[in-house]
Amino acid sequence: MSKYTEDDLKKELETKEYEYGFYTDIESDTFPVGLNEDIVRAISKKKEEPEWMTEWRLESFRYWQEMIEPEWANVHYKKPDFQNISYYSAPNKKPKYDSLDEVDPELLDTFNKLGISIEEQKKLAGVAVDIVMDSVSVATTFKDTLAKKGIIFCSISEAIKKHPELVKKYIGTVVPQKDNFYAALNSAVFSDGSFCYIPKGVRCPMELSTYFRINQAGTGQFERTLVVADEDSYVSYLEGCTAPMRDENQLHAAVVELIALDGAEIKYSTVQNWFPGGKDGKGGVYNFVTKRGLCEKNAKISWTQVETGSAVTWKYPSCILKGDNSIGEFYSIAVTNNYQQADTGTKMIHLGKNTKSTIISKGISAGKSQNSYRGLVQVNSRAENARNFSQCDSLLMGNKCGAHTFPYIEAKNKTAQIEHEATTSKIGEDQIFYCNQRGIDTEKAIALIVNGFSKEVLNKLPMEFAVEAQKLLEISLEGSVG
């Protein structure tokens, strides 16, 4: 393999087809296409939601109707027809499982193909899996252990029924209904998602984890996640996505809200591997996600993401550093290939005193893809001693792709200290030569360099998630990553 060059890698990247493109045939309960108030009511009814939730959805729907799709992002795509999407789809058979044996074998098979069998997951250092497949959660494990600690970890529809006071108090407080076009849409039609509440002073003993998949043809998936960490608690939450191969573009508009009360810490990790579209740029998932966290006093929110999929990604996990001494972190690897387009980054809004934020973003673009970093660091006039460090590095493979950096830095306080740096480069011939010299062949050298390039972010992923993350990264960079 000594002849393995960057060109070979490029070729391999281009020809690499989506491996997880399969489709599980489970009878689904799907709504007719289109969206109007009746559909919103029907979704709410289907989920047996209380009156206030229905009203909340309708209110969001009304806001949504008045909004227009944002166009400022550096992505180009055919806009989805919102009246040509079915807004609800749930796996039909919904028995209450006591053990894994009772789970639909077809479903289990799907997870096995993904290499994330629940059995394995169970063994893997105590990961509780709340599997969301087409919107309704069908399996939840480790619930007992969590319940003993007073931790609530369930689907959001269940939470609406069982813990309405918590949901009512926090939903829409970080991402308001009319925050943006997709958030409003999500608020109106969200099908399911996860809810997590960590009581005061509790340290969640295991990594909480959810896998999302889009399964039914032509159904958009609108996940709603709400994580509330009460005072001095700690939680690490993992979210991973894969989607089967489809030619039709699928829409994914999720909303994730994190609330870290005084002294709490939330670590939110994502591995995203939606179907990126074929080699010719056909199909693929549109991923328009609103993720935002609110930090109260001494709280900390850390976002880690590995983005390898989706035809179009539009995602800015953000932190509002409201409380004094709060900390926000953002670690991201975005890999784009073929005709993928990613416009991703973060927002760090410094409001409290002595707030700190760190942004590390690594972009790798290959094929004909476009990879953009868009970030905002804002220091409010009352945010004394705010500190920010941002680093955005891009790696380009070939001259048909593009890497873009759009940082917005706004400082209104004289005590702010902000540093931003960005670089764009390719894998240096000298770096490869150096490795070759020491007996490392070119393939391994490229793997080493790409690994090293992303290491700062990969290191931030929880150990339990590392296996999965590696696997998903390999889909985009197989042959280069060891």
């Binding site: 400022w72 220091v379 006039s381 891009s394 380009l396 493979m397 070939g398 001259n399 048909k400 792709c401 593009g402 890497a403 873009h404 950096t405 759009f406 940082p407 917005y408 830095i409 706004e410 400082a411 209104k412 306080n413 004289k414 005590t415 702010a416 200290q417 902000i418 540093e419 931003h420 740096e421 960005a422 670089t423 764009t424 480069s425 390719k426």
Partner: protein, 438 residues
């Protein structure tokens, strides 16, 4: 009547006095149509996100200010010139050429007026080849193109080194309660030639002035252009300065912007590298106070391989001043082996000062070394303590550190006399005299 309507209406009166057949006339007609369609930029334009022209456009400007009824003596304005060295001077008073204050030449090089170049057939080929060829067709440049009638015209033929710097100074005297000036400069530098230019806009009264200036610079093969902009106007004067520099292969263009004065200043700096092995330098020092607002909007477009660009902007912001840096480096897919560097460092001195920085990279080629850095911070407390412990007073110590902060930009000024002047301006601006040269 809004300023936009007023401008569009006055264009027709202006047009009547123009020669009919010239291709520039057609250009003007297209330009005014363009302006009419787009209007003045608003904060909704991404490029104008941090700078609003609204307060500026409320004033009723006189579009063709009446000329001053007396001559201005050289001693009155001496300080605005580099008076202790010999220079070529192109001076305009309220948009009208002042032959009394100027020193132009036609001796092997042309350092003269755009109006005379427009009038004489001799210059027609040059104008047709270059005029409005580099300028963007955005609303403000279009507005300037439509009304362009006066400005500097500098044409340096092949293999000439211009022996002394050229100063372009636009004075406004406040003959009207408020005036809109639209100077238009054209600089063509031939193969292997070398030129140094200093540009300045200066208001001599407190009456509001709004200047919408456009400068086009064409650097031919291996040409060397050294351009300095000094912006130290009175607090009622606003300036929108759009400069377009088109570079052919192996040319080297350097542009320094020193922004100390004015109410609102917007610098649109656009470098287009059209040949291989070009070198572009964009440097700036901005020191602001009160409610001043300075916006540096830069673009370096690399279209050919093996080129370099360096940007270094330093800003010190006091009181309620606002600084904006919006830099963009664009690298086309064929432009391999580009070395592009962009740096923006800022110091905030007051709690009310604001900085908005947006250093952007748009890269389509893989074999490049492009980077940018941006910092916002304060003077180093420890360095300050070090100086104070050695008996240097607080104020002087701070001044010293600010000098040091801006120094590497200042170091690259190649006209010693100018460097001394800028040093003095900085000292005045910081309000101390450190008593020695840095």
């Amino acid at each position: 009547m809004s300023l936009k309507d007023k401008l569009v209406t006055s264009y027709f009166a202006f047009e009547d006095n123009l020669a009919d057949d010239s291709p520039i006339h057609t250009m003007r007609n297209d330009a005014i149509k363009n302006f009419e369609a787009t209007g003045f930029p608003t904060k909704k334009d991404e490029e104008w996100k941090y700078t609003s022209l609204r307060s500026l456009l409320k004033t009723d400007y006189s579009i063709f200010p009446k000329p001053l009824d007396r001559t201005i003596e050289f001693r009155e304005v001496k300080n605005y010139f580099l008076h202790d060295v010999d220079t070529y001077k192109i001076v305009f008073i309220d948009g009208v050429y002042s032959s009394f204050l100027s020193e132009t030449t036609h001796d092997s090089i042309d350092v003269c007026l755009l109006s005379s170049a427009l009038a004489k057939p001799k210059y027609k080929p040059v104008l047709e080849a270059y005029f409005n060829k580099a300028a963007k067709k955005d609303s403000l440049s279009s507005l300037n193109t439509a009304f362009a009638k006066e400005g500097a015209y500098i044409h340096i033929p092949k293999h000439k080194e211009v022996e002394k710097p050229i100063e372009i100074i636009n004075f406004s005297t406040g003959t009207e309660s408020a005036a809109l000036l639209q100077p238009r400069n054209l600089v063509v530098v031939g193969e292997n030639s070398h030129v140094q230019i200093i540009e300045r806009h200066q208001s001599l009264s407190e009456n509001p002035v709004f200047t919408n200036s456009v400068t086009e610079v064409f650097a031919e093969k291996r040409a060397f252009v050294d351009y300095y902009k000094i912006q130290n106007d009175v607090s009622t004067a606003s300036l929108i300065d759009s400069t377009y520099i088109s570079q052919e292969r192996e040319s080297n263009c350097r542009l320094h912007t020193f922004s100390f004065g004015g109410k609102l200043t917007r610098n649109n700096l656009n470098f287009y590298q059209k040949g291989e092995r070009c070198n572009s330098t964009l440097n700036g020092i901005t020191i602001l106070e009160d409610k001043q607002h300075v916006d540096h909007n830069t673009l370096v477009h690399h279209t050919q391989p093996n080129c370099e660009s360096h940007q270094d902007y330093k800003g010190i912001f006091d009181d309620a001043s606002t600084g904006v840096f919006n830099g963009k480096v664009l690298v086309d897919s064929i432009a391999q082996k580009i070395d592009a560097f962009q740096q923006n460092n800022n110091i905030l001195i007051s709690d009310k000062a604001t900085i908005n920085s947006k250093p952007q990279l748009e890269i389509f080629a893989d074999d490049v070394a492009c980077s940018h850095g941006c910092t916002i911070g304060q003077l180093d407390e420890e360095a300050l303590f070090y100086l104070r412990s050695r008996g240097i007073a607080q104020k002087e110590a701070r001044a010293l550190l600010m000098y040091a902060f801006a120094n590497n930009v200042l170091e690259s000024v190649k006209i010693p006399e100018l460097k001394r002047r800028i040093n003095k301006l900085i000292a005045e601006k910081i309000g101390v005299s450190v008593g020695f040269q840095l």
